[in-house]
Symmetry: C2
Subunit: 465 residues, 2 copies
Amino acid sequence: MNKLVESASVVTPDIIQKYRDAFGEQLTTNRAMLDRFGQDESFHATCPPDMVVTVRTTDDVVRVLQLSSEHKTPVIPYGAGTSLEGSVAALYGGVCVNMQEMNKIIDVHPEDMDVVLQPGVTRRQLNNHLKDKGLFFPVDPGADASVGGMISTRASGTTTVRYGAMRDNVMALEVVLADGRVVRTGSRARKSAAGYDLTRLITGAEGTLGIVTEATLRLYGIPEAMAAAVCTFSSLESAVDTVIETIQFGIPIARMELLDDVQLEAINRYSKTNYTVAPTLFLEFHGTDASVAEQSEAVSAIAGEHGGANFSWTTNTEERNQLWRARHDAAYASKALRPNGAIWATDVCVPISRLAECIALTRVDLDENNLLAPIVGHVGDGNFHLVLLVDHNDVAEVECAQKVHERMVNRAIDMGGTCTGEHGIGYGKLDFLRTEHGVGVDVMQDIKKALDPLGIMNPGKVFVR
Amino acid sequence: MNKLVESASVVTPDIIQKYRDAFGEQLTTNRAMLDRFGQDESFHATCPPDMVVTVRTTDDVVRVLQLSSEHKTPVIPYGAGTSLEGSVAALYGGVCVNMQEMNKIIDVHPEDMDVVLQPGVTRRQLNNHLKDKGLFFPVDPGADASVGGMISTRASGTTTVRYGAMRDNVMALEVVLADGRVVRTGSRARKSAAGYDLTRLITGAEGTLGIVTEATLRLYGIPEAMAAAVCTFSSLESAVDTVIETIQFGIPIARMELLDDVQLEAINRYSKTNYTVAPTLFLEFHGTDASVAEQSEAVSAIAGEHGGANFSWTTNTEERNQLWRARHDAAYASKALRPNGAIWATDVCVPISRLAECIALTRVDLDENNLLAPIVGHVGDGNFHLVLLVDHNDVAEVECAQKVHERMVNRAIDMGGTCTGEHGIGYGKLDFLRTEHGVGVDVMQDIKKALDPLGIMNPGKVFVR
């Protein structure tokens, strides 16, 4: 259980009553509920809001924001609670806007390959709905996140190397701004050169500029054939070189995941598998039967040139699912390495030419500091995750982990990368945003002030309040 | 020659002298130069600036903007002058910042598949430079535009269906803001969840928020094999249905261009070709030899089901180049239909399910009004271009064309589309931005005011000043 801190709230019982008058049974101040809605899956301290309002319509959200503007109440949107940087912690108290009941899939357009939906829809709910239509939404961050949360953190994941991130697959949004104005950004056209790209300004704003109440997402046809493959390497470099060459050859690979030896060992223990304990690539190919075979063979040849061993591929669905189940269970497998430890999942992203070096230096730093931390990466994007296993109650260990983490993030930025590839800033990476963007943070804050002059939207996230 | 209007300039000789003191021979007030730099390739009236400063470094741009802030002088960046909505017209006079000498390709990173360059580099210059490295930059708007201009108008083009638009392929920018601050947005990491997406805010801002002084672009490997194909249809619907099905099947087609019968006739006359005069698709496939053959055969089969005739494909480079030369010369071919007419090239973009209907209704409207206007489209994106041939001196005809244009744009917006897929707003589509985005335009203007409080950045573009 994460440490729980009390928020710096100045919300009075009188103010809460105003919301109660407006929302009746849609509002709760039940302590267990407040705790639940102040918590995500991050390592960071949880922080309960003063109240939770479960919204059902865009109008509900408008009313919340009008009231909140009037009373200068902080507003924190909540999707599925799977964020990893404390995005939902109510640092200054206020009203948590629970989006989970805004979970309708409004319209699927098979000819246009898009879907219009409410932000409380989760990734799995969406793909279950689409299956019969031969369509799928590819962005896969692992967790069963809500679409609204994925938009707000600019999520990506295992398939981004082929299908892009949320940035690339959000076509249009309906957003309620701090003052209650409802804005529609984008359209169902595949592209537009009309005015500022508000869709992509809101995507990744972590609820600090407005609350997403509807989204239009791009869809893809479920491929005719899918194949999975595994290949082990004697070094991180050779695994990464295989990936670099695969991309250079333009092979449209769908998934390319790198797991280091520590992660493989954790998976073998947890999932009762017997993968070779060595730097390993998990791969997936999408296409026709012929093109999937051609891709697999091409990557096998490339891997061979880089000393890859035991390359095996399969189009068997059960074997493929088993592979990706093992990959998706990596976090649980890591946790099982130290049952009484907490998971601190963090990510950075670098130019792919620096990836092997960045991971290797991080591994040395971890070993020198006796920290247990498997590494997995969306290697086609240059993005990797460190899953630190830390005892919350061991102050020295937490401090040590913080320092290793800080060095890793600064290393990634120094290499021309970013402090987070897909988790967001939340309040866990505030300082690094400045290191990475410098004056750019002032520009972001100029925009924040222009759209949220009272500073009520998810305060303390992305920027220090 | 376009109509020339005098700007509403309030720039005094004293102010011009300040710039002359700072920039010496880099500044000109030569009348012919002023006229040249106030003109793009649009139908809209040209409007010369008071002076042109040819910048060579980011510091030069900083000094221009510091002086311009001090004297409240309008600033208009100029790339290659190929814009189509009057983006470079100095409506309020001021200083044109000529970016053409900032044309260095700074660094190519083959392993990371990216390039760092100055914004004056043109598309062809870049691809000539990359050829020997087996790499290319795919965004192809037709004209040999500058990279800075392509960023500023959020350009796309024939290959967007496969490789995305500028939105998807700009990784990072250096931008000088109105007050002279230099901001670096993004990084060389393939993706990031760190803070607001300033890269995509600047991409498409048409120089109204700052001047791009450096860009990092994503590159792709030149495919092992390329094939081109042509296919004619008895109706627009069947051509578009072929495209819809091709995308649904996930065939990674590289180019898919729709040309209507009027356009084909113009091409046949101009390029001495003998294409069937009917709705036609020009296609291109990229991949390995095997996958290109597989794609061609798959699309041929789909086209056959929709009544497509004369499907022929080739991997012969000369034949392929001939096809795309004919496509790229479409604008000249259109112009040749009416040598004394001016070209009014405009574009809209709709969900692809509405494309055939939108084009057909537009064709009826054109015919009913006796207007000559070939139609070509990047059909995979739902984007089409109307090339109106209008006599500038015929007031009644210009008015008639304006009305047809207005109906077409409103039709596209009503169908869930956008008033421009790739040309931008400039000052030619100001009213339509409001129709399309409503309250969103207020939000855009809030951002504009926050970043350019004096309103000196390309005033009168995107928004009415």
